[in-house]
């Protein structure tokens, strides 16, 4: 029974890691680039959610939309500043710029909001019985929202024109350009979409843990990355799998070893996958969704 509880804890957390990881996959898949500022996008989304919930007292779904919107806008600017001017520069210069941006965003958040936790009100605090065990309604809600977002994403990528353009660009952006795809626009939309998912993850984390704070993006970003690598940098199902597995293993580690070692799991996964199978579990062979 205890294991079931830890499993649900793990899946809930894992679904949040998965959303962050999918963001990385979209960015790497279409643009072949990595961003270190994703954690801060997630953090800004979370703060927007906090603002909507705690200050404006709006319902959670509005808060979620606002968080996603704020993240989308921030993503737009990051892409313009860090990635667009350096198109031909390979991956290192934009990466370094995103490091700079992440440091700035964190400091700005600390200056504007203060370093302390901002409390987010509790919603759905009740539990229900499933198979003789108590499950928090909130956990189910989060799993549900994450699932919904992923389905919407899939519809977007498979069924819409822009989605098709994204897939084409991911496969070969020069060919896509040659076929008339507005590659710049695709890059921008991809980055914004990825940021939007990150923002959603941020809002959900704020609600789940009742707190948002300026440095929350650090570990989240790195763990999301670990999940992304685990699945194979360009595979969305892989990212989802990676996120869920990391979430569950973390909680099992807390249960059977000690809670202090929880964070090591994600980084061990990162290192082990990179050393033994850098293309990830689901490999480069399966590209995009």
């Amino acid at each position: 029974m205890l294991i079931l509880g830890q499993l649900i804890n793990g899946l809930t957390q894992g679904s949040i890691y998965a959303l962050i990881a999918i963001g990385f996959v979209i960015i790497f898949g279409t643009m072949n680039l990595v961003t270190f500022a994703h954690g801060e996008v997630y953090m800004i989304g979370a703060f927007m959610g906090y603002f909507a919930l705690s200050v404006l007292h709006l319902p959670w779904y509005v808060a979620l939309m606002m968080g996603m919107g704020a993240a989308w806008v921030l993503g737009f600017f990051i892409e313009k500043v860090a990635f667009r001017p350096l198109r031909a520069a390979g991956h290192m210069p934009p990466l370094l710029i995103t490091i700079g941006l992440s440091i700035i965003l964190k400091d700005l958040a600390m200056l504007l909001f203060g370093a302390e936790n901002r409390p987010v009100p509790s919603i759905y605090g009740e539990t229900i019985e499933i198979a003789g065990f108590q499950v928090s309604l909130l956990q189910l809600l989060i799993l549900g929202i994450a699932g919904l977002l992923i389905i919407v994403l899939r519809i977007l990528i498979q069924g819409t024109k822009i989605g098709r353009a994204m897939r084409a660009t991911a496969q070969d952006h020069e060919a896509a350009y040659a076929m008339g795809v507005n590659v710049n626009r695709v890059f921008s939309v991809s980055f914004c979409l990825a940021s939007c998912l990150g923002g959603a993850a941020g809002v959900m984390v704020g609600i789940y843990y009742n707190a948002v704070y300026p440095v929350m993006g650090d570990t989240a970003g790195l763990k999301g990355f670990a999940a992304c690598i685990f699945g194979g940098l360009t595979s969305i199902p892989g990212a989802i799998l990676g996120g869920l597995i990391i979430g569950v293993v973390e909680n099992l580690t807390v249960q059977f070893i000690a809670s202090g070692y929880r964070d090591i799991v994600a980084f061990l996964v990162l290192v082990i996958v990179l050393v033994f199978r850098p293309q990830g579990i689901l490999g480069k062979k399966i590209r995009a969704v």
Partner: protein, 375 residues
């Protein structure tokens, strides 16, 4: 060819710039250096200090300061980072205007700066360092919040004797304070016959407690002892509520005592047991004066951190009045402090320059801190 020379000169000029910033002697105000976190993770505690000390200073200087000379506090932000507090210690000890210092916040930061203050001979009065090894470490180091060697047994007695709970699980914050606090509690509790079923740690930045709470629930404890700050405690309380785990008592040390715990924790912290060295409803006139003054000036209730900093500045002022501005004389006079009427209780320094505090039993009822009636 001259570029390297120019580079060398630029470098040296930078260094001389610093030298040029050497302080000019000022005879009028008396300067006390404050070393503490104004930004960073512990910023709110440092800000609490500043508010209380500024208030205290206002009153002290309005009453004529020390023999007509006003006191001026020089605040330098260290984020309670040991490297920074050490650098600031160098800065303060070489500044001839500064006669004494108050700070730092964490025991780790204090101990990092300790050798410097010790070597240079300057008082380091920490309002909040509670590590038993801090004050004994140097004749220049003083602590006024009491150590866990005192609070641990008090809390253990509260849990085991007053509340009658013998099956205890401990969840502590994995930093120097948390480790020392849990160690003293566990030692005392065991001596009183309690059974410690599980001991788990969490890191300062952790926000997820669902995993570890689920694990602790599995050992079915009657009481959870949680050495944590009020930030983490409110999260723990909320997440525990979300998991539906209501049939266990929760207790934590005096660090939890803060109106913010009630604000952030809301209804989920009802029933929490804690202690306090400072209680705003304490009828003593000095406490009421402080509380009222703080509420008037800042529109908020003072917490323990504000209260202890207030005591710090007041003790320092009293010592300056008696001993003057010689650094050594200040130290000697400070060590003699006996029964100083602080808002956090009477302050008398032991041989080791620690204080033995009087604790109060508290419990949260209807989102308010109330005194617990002891048998």
């Amino acid at each position: 060819m001259g570029k390297e020379k120019i580079a060398g000169i630029v470098v040296l000029s930078f260094l001389f710039l610093l030298f040029g910033g050497a302080p000019v002697c000022s005879k009028e105000p008396i300067h006390i250096g404050v070393s503490g976190p104004l930004t960073g993770t512990y910023a709110e505690y440092g800000q609490n200090w500043k508010k209380a000390m500024d208030l205290g200073l206002e009153w002290i200087n309005a009453a004529g300061g020390v023999k007509g000379r006003p006191i001026e506090l020089i605040y330098t932000d260290t984020k309670s980072d040991p490297k920074e507090s050490a650098a600031v210690a160098h800065k303060y000890t070489t500044d001839k205007r500064i006669v004494s210092t108050i700070g730092d916040f964490t025991s780790t930061a204090c101990m990092a700066a300790q050798p410097i203050y010790d070597r240079a001979g300057m008082v380091q009065l920490s309002p909040t360092a509670s590590h038993p090894k801090f004050a004994p470490g140097s004749i220049w180091s003083f602590g006024i919040i009491g150590t866990q060697a005192g609070e641990g047994p008090f809390m253990a007695r509260y849990a085991v004797k007053q509340l009658g709970k013998k099956r205890i699980a401990v969840l502590y914050i994995n930093n120097d304070w948390g480790i020392v606090t849990k160690d003293f509690f566990i030692k005392a509790a065991k001596e009183m016959g309690a059974e410690i079923l599980a001991v788990e740690a969490f890191f300062e930045a952790d926000k997820d407690f669902t995993g570890v709470l689920t694990k602790l629930r599995g050992v079915k404890p009657e009481l959870l002892y949680i050495p944590a700050m009020y930030n983490e405690m409110s999260l723990i309380a909320k997440q525990k509520e979300k998991l539906g785990w209501m049939d266990v008592l929760v207790m934590g040390p005096g660090s939890l005592y803060s109106p913010k715990l009630l604000e952030i924790g809301g209804a989920s912290v009802n029933g929490l047991y804690t202690s306090a060295v400072f209680f705003p409803k304490d009828p003593r006139p000095e406490v009421q004066k402080f509380v009222k003054g703080f509420e008037d000036k800042y529109k908020a209730s003072p917490n323990m951190f504000a209260a202890i900093a207030y005591d710090g500045i007041n003790i320092m002022t009293e010592v300056l009045r008696k001993a003057g501005t010689d650094r050594k004389a200040i130290r000697d006079e400070l060590a003699k402090t006996k029964d100083f009427p602080g808002v956090t209780g009477k302050i008398t320094f032991t041989e080791q320059r620690d204080v033995l505090k009087d604790y109060r039993h508290l419990v949260i009822k209807n989102q308010e801190f109330t005194l617990f009636e002891t048998k």
